[in-house]
Amino acid sequence: MFSYNKRLQYPIDIKKKDLRMAKYLVTQYGGSNGELGAALRYLNQRYTMPDNRGKALLTDIGTEELAHVEMISTMIYQLMKDATLEEIREAGLDTNYVEHRRALFPTNANGVPFTVAYFATTGDPLADISEDMAAEQKARAVYENLIDLTSDPDVIGPLLWLRQREIVHFNRFKELFEYYEKKLRNGEITLERIENNINNLNNINSNSLYDLRKNNRM
């Protein structure tokens, strides 16, 4: 189960309203490389990890990502606080206002709503952890783009901090990936799913070769 801690993982204190920045930043809430996608992806993938290392790491990083969802949400909320309708219109957030008024709504920077397709879970631990490594790198790149788009130190501080978390998480996932890869190669653990995939792949290849020969196409 989960329980709530009534504090942010890292403090957010944005004093200057900036609706355009809020519009960009929402992508780290509801975009394909955002914190919500990361949290739910890891917490969803953990059930089919082959040992306790993977189960523990995905649980703990997934939980931390929920704290990052709260940080990003807080930033968007503070950037938009007390915005007038005119300011909302000028920043292009009027299209968001139509459906959601001043509420937070997880979309990317172009307003495309969050989708569970971002979970990208295959059930194959090596594929899933590779996905997680890529996700951390993509989120790092997005944080750098966001830092480039602002000059407000109250915004840059938390973005730098969140960017650094992507780097740490990437390295932990990389270590886990290498660990599983080695264990698998040495036959120390069996990844049933991977073995099945390899067998299926062999069957498909030989069958199709057979079909091709039979039909005199090669």
Binding site: Y10, P11, R53
Partner: protein
């Protein structure tokens, strides 16, 4: 606002650890102290990667409440970083000992904070009297803790 200001706080006095912790041939790594780690968002100096010429913000407190929250956030963050590490290297005794140091210091600070300023979690302290302080204290997205 954006300068390093580390190793000068007296709450570090009890840290009997060296800044260059060997990793017993598990992973060669070096650790920041909790203050620098928390400012940077990274406990592991060998993993730290700077973006352009940006330096991490230096977080400071304006009053005792903020100071207590800042200190518990630093120690809690350091413990969390070690938690992620120990998930992968559960037999690393040095890191486990450091994790337990940070964890118990965090818990002591949380207890102290909750006694003075109200609960940080629903299973915490400071929930005995009306009005129900879980509901009464400021929510984190509204609170402006730091300058």
């Amino acid at each position: 606002m954006y300068n390093y200001n580390i190793f000068n706080e007296n709450w570090l006095r009890n840290m009997n650890t060296d800044n260059n912790l060997g990793m017993n041939n598990v992973v060669e790594t070096k650790l920041f102290y909790p203050t620098e780690a928390y400012n940077s968002g990274n406990l592991y100096s060998n993993l730290y990667s700077q973006y352009k010429n940006y330096k991490p913000a230096v977080l400071t407190a304006r009053n005792e409440k903020e100071q207590l929250l800042l200190e518990l956030s630093r120690l809690s963050f350091a413990a969390h970083e070690l938690n992620l590490y120990l998930d992968l290297y559960p037999n690393d005794e040095t890191m486990l000992a450091l994790f337990n140091d940070y964890r118990s210091e965090t818990n002591a600070l949380i207890k102290q904070y909750e006694g003075k300023y109200g609960p940080l979690s629903i299973s915490g302290n400071g929930l005995e009297n009306t009005p129900f302080s879980w509901q009464k204290t400021t929510w984190p997205w509204e609170d402006r803790y730091y300058v």
